[in-house]
């Protein structure tokens, strides 16, 4: 067994040292009734690397690979090109197989990366500070809502209809147990976001307003009016960004008055991975820092006065505060945060802006081409790299028909909102730098055929 270094002779010698006759003696505390005598049923014995590789590869081959077909899916997870050096670096044993940096003297590598990551995220989001990452965008969003509750001591949260439905669903799950009050709505297939509804709903009971930017249909609206109204009512504005590349082209939520900005970091450095692991980004303005959940890395000095980094403000955390902790979260998404940070460093200001510009230009080209498909209507006036089509028929079966033609054509609103009749003809189309002219043409042609 290739991962187990002990030889039988070692085992015998060690048992002698311990003073036990057999391994079974070490399991003496396990009641007889609970001892498994045989092997786990149905599971084969250990296998060679080659054999396991073949089994796994056979399963991998049964999936349609994004990089091998015209690909237009978004809705919270985006396909971008990740430079080869990112994966090279995160596979270094010193990153891959290291532990949470609780022993800072021998974890400065991870800690400095986290400090750089926090600064990158804060700047990207237009905030003062950011934490060292969360599980993903959806859980970061819920954590932001609970943080707003701690700040405002109020329990009412207004969720934009443009917020990703999974994020809404998660909040609904949690609110059922925490007693938070959620004001939710479905999106409408219209050019305008639901800013008006949000503005109308904010009142003196409101803890926070949660707005996605760009929203689930790809629409972009100025957050400033909502921030102003919220602040006037003592509420916070939480902005959610599922596509961080957008912020290379459009204004940062933190610069439009958002108090907390959270989102998904997957686009930068991480890859699709069928939905996980991803990396939740979480930033806020300075004054709220002590209410911020999650792990934080801070600057300090060592006994010789040299600059160094440590995990800090852990008095908020479960391993110190136990039932009084601000969150039960114990893990961040360290390796994905590293990947994000490396990719961001490779991009820099210049690369991020160019990448964003290319995404937007490609999306505009695609929108123009798809608008020519008979019966298809583009909902959006504004968008970054993602927009919504209204098809003349239900989008969900259309997406399946496109897949049969070898085109992954988008995310149907039917998949995301199975029970919302009014949305069934909606199709979200994401267009990133990986999409070629040929891909756009392939989608347009296939869509014409499917709708004919």
């Amino acid at each position: 067994m290739r991962y187990l270094p002990l030889a039988d002779t070692d085992r015998q010698e060690m048992l002698r040292t311990i003073g036990a006759k057999s391994i079974d003696d070490l399991f003496v505390d396990v009641p007889e009734a609970a001892r498994l005598s045989g092997k786990i049923e149905g599971l084969a014995d250990h296998a060679s690397e080659m054999s396991v590789e073949r089994q796994m590869t056979a399963m991998a081959r049964r999936n349609m690979v994004a990089g091998e077909v015209p690909f237009f899916l978004g809705a919270g997870a985006y396909k971008h090109h990740v430079p080869a050096s990112v994966d090279h670096i995160i596979q270094r044993g010193e990153f891959l197989t290291s532990y949470t940096p609780y022993q800072p003297e021998i974890a400065q590598g991870t800690l400095q990366v986290l400090f750089e990551f926090q600064t990158q995220v804060a700047r990207l989001y237009g905030c003062d500070v950011a934490n060292a990452s969360m599980y993903d965008g959806s859980t970061a969003c819920w954590e932001a809502i609970t943080m707003a509750r701690r700040v405002t001591k109020r329990g009412k949260t207004i969720l934009s209809g443009g917020l990703h439905p999974h994020y809404v669903s998660l909040a609904q799950t949690m609110a059922r147990f925490t007693g938070d009050q959620l004001d939710v709505a479905l999106p409408e297939l219209a050019a305008e976001t639901d800013a008006e509804r949000l503005l109308a709903s904010i009142d003196g009971e409101t803890s926070c307003v949660v707005v996605q930017y760009p929203d689930i249909l790809g629409r972009i609206a100025d957050l400033t009016p909502i921030a102003e109204k919220a602040h006037a009512n003592g509420a916070l504005l939480i902005a959610v960004v599922t596509e961080p590349v957008a912020l290379g082209a459009i204004e940062a939520p933190g610069h439009m008055g958002a108090d907390i900005v959270v989102g998904e970091g997957q686009s930068i450095g991480v890859g699709l991975n069928f939905g996980g692991p991803y990396v939740g980004l979480f930033a806020c303005q300075e004054k709220f820092v002590r209410q911020m959940p999650g792990r934080l890395c801070g600057e300090t000095v060592d006994a010789e006065g040299k600059r160094g980094f440590v995990l800090t403000l852990s008095t908020r955390e479960q391993h110190i505060r136990r039932e009084k902790a601000t969150s039960n979260i114990c893990t961040n998404s360290g390796l994905c945060a590293l990947a994000f940070s490396i990719h961001m460093t490779l991009l820099g200001e210049k690369g991020l802006r160019e990448l964003a510009a290319l995404n937007h230009a490609r999306a505009v080209q695609a929108a123009d081409r798809l608008a020519q498909v008979p019966g298809v209507e583009i909902i959006n006036d504004s968008f970054f790299n993602e927009f919504t089509l209204k098809l003349p028929k239900e989008a969900r079966p259309a997406v399946r028909a496109l897949a049969e033609k070898g085109v992954l054509g988008g995310v149907s609103l039917g998949r995301l909102y199975p029970e919302a009749e009014a949305l069934q003809n909606g199709l979200i189309v994401a267009v990133t730098e990986v999409v070629t002219d040929e891909d756009i043409e392939a989608l347009a042609t296939a869509l014409e055929e499917v709708l004919a």
Partner: protein
């Protein structure tokens, strides 16, 4: 050479990617173009690779040596797992692709789930929790849902004193009041005290087994029975499942829900703090309340039960805990590991893990105090206290002293029930030769601690940094780099 921050580098205006020029189009950004500088430094590829390579070398890692972190389980991460997780068929598929285009991915989820159920002897599994603590939350939400479904809202969760901090935190998050269960002198749950506390207000217990003292709870079956008798449910923290995998099935102990940290038992990498993955296995009683989404096999085809289809046959679900379907990248690694080890290998894993821990326990109990050493063998981790250290020498000093010996420190001050606790978990992937080196190193540091060697307070000396001032960091938190004020550099 000290490695500067990317924000401090002279070459930060560079770029390590080439982006094809954007075609000219009229912008449709809604008039919200970002105009001010974002302030993100860029480096060319050579400088980027060098920056992170240099930083990495300031880290300790399993690839460099033993990581004796009790309760955290740092074991070898097989490279085949990494290779498999990167197959385009797994790494490059979107979570919302049509179901028929991701049948292989769903099979991975289903197969891993099936093995987790079989290995634990439970009834079903929720795959979506993102990490151990998220799994705890999942388990407690299921318990609360089940109790609410029978109209029996209870208020209290009992937690042993020695529990992981996440246990009470999670229970509190779910709206429960947490009460402690005391431990016996042998480091186990005090069954009598537990029984005395049980009643109609108790929603359940959260117990860790093997517990955080590294000991198996011999009364576990009786504990479960007692809790069930008063209508409560039993949550097991599965952090230590690696000690018993293949030899004991938690389902046979009466557990209703247990999360499994894939990295602890099934070798996914820790990555310097995540990503984790915390699938939760359920008893039959809790199965109806499991979260969305999950994978089901229908004939030859795998389907994903999401919001739309849940109504039909999963109406009692407590809902969604995360966007999408969980940590696929970790599932491929864990399944690869399970297939690699197989039934015989997984049993050997727990045996070797327990053997290694007992070897450490018995090789050091002459020089270190083992508070429960007299009560028999430990499971996968050995627990020592600071009893016998000279005045002024602490567990922290011993830990930092170990750094100078070339090892990562053990877990310190946990569990709380033991004074100055040192919890040592070698895992099954360490050789006897390495254990002997570690034992020699810890023996030497322990002897210095007992003799009151003042030099120990200054440790570590041979690390990228000396002891860091954590108080300063917390008092005036500096969490992001800021441009130094002009003129400061000249001072």
């Amino acid at each position: 050479l000290e490695e500067p921050l990317i924000f401090e580098m002279d070459e930060q205006g560079g770029c390590g990617v080439d982006i094809a020029p954007a075609p000219k189009v009229a912008s449709r950004l809604g008039g919200l173009e970002r105009k001010r500088d974002i302030g993100i430094p860029g480096l060319s590829e050579p400088q980027t690779v060098r920056h992170y390579t240099r930083l990495s070398r300031q880290n300790y890692a399993i690839d460099l040596g033993l990581f004796p972190l009790g309760s955290c389980t740092m074991k070898h991460n097989p490279r085949l797992n990494e290779k498999m997780a990167r197959l385009p068929g797994f790494a490059d598929i979107h979570p919302l692709q049509p179901i028929d285009t991701v049948q292989g991915a769903l099979k991975v989820v289903a197969d891993l789930g099936e093995w987790l159920v079989k290995l634990t002897g439970m009834h079903s599994v929720a795959m979506s929790p993102k990490a151990g603590a998220h799994g705890e939350l999942c388990g407690l939400l299921a318990i609360r849902s089940a109790l609410e479904a029978r109209g029996d809202a209870r208020e209290v969760i009992l937690v042993p004193e020695s529990a992981h901090g996440t246990n009470p935190a999670t229970a509190a998050f779910c709206g429960y009041r947490v009460e402690n269960i005391p431990a016996t002198e042998r480091g186990r749950v005090d069954l009598a005290a537990l029984k005395a506390r049980l009643g109609p207000d108790v929603a359940g217990v959260m117990i860790t087994n093997p517990n955080t003292c590294g000991l198996f709870e011999p009364d576990m079956i009786e504990i479960s029975k007692a809790v069930h008798e008063v209508g409560g449910l039993v949550y097991c923290d599965g952090a230590n499942f690696n000690a018993i995998v293949g030899r004991v099935r938690p389902g046979d102990l009466g557990i209703d829900a247990m999360h499994i940290n894939l990295h602890k038992t099934f070798s996914t990498p820790h990555g310097g703090g995540g990503p984790g993955s915390g699938p939760v296995v359920f008893s039959e009683a809790l199965t109806p309340f499991a979260p969305l989404p999950f994978v089901e096999k229908q004939g030859d085809r795998y389907v994903l039960i999401e919001e739309e289809t849940a109504e039909e046959h999963h109406g009692q679900t407590f809902g969604r805990m995360t966007a999408f379907h969980g940590q696929m990248g970790m599932f491929t690694r864990a399944l690869t590991y399970i297939l690699s080890h197989g039934a015989d290998g997984l049993r050997q894993v727990s045996e070797d893990a327990v053997l290694n821990a007992n070897y450490i326990l018995r090789s050091l109990d002459d020089v270190l105090d083992a508070p429960f050493g007299a009560s028999g063998p430990c499971m996968h981790e050995a627990l020592f206290s600071d009893k016998g250290f000279a005045e002024g020498v602490s567990t922290l000093d011993v830990a930092k002293g170990l750094i100078d010996e070339g090892f990562h420190p053990m877990t310190m001050y946990f569990p709380l029930v033991v004074h100055g606790a040192m919890l040592i978990e070698p895992t099954e992937t360490e050789s006897k030769a390495t254990l002997d080196q570690f034992i020699g190193a810890l023996r030497s540091v322990a002897e210095r601690a007992k003799a009151g060697d003042p030099a120990l307070k200054a440790a570590p000396l041979h690390a990228p940094r000396r002891r860091l001032d954590e108080t300063l960091a917390a008092r005036k938190p500096v969490l992001a780099w800021k441009e130094p004020v002009q003129g400061m550099a000249a001072e």
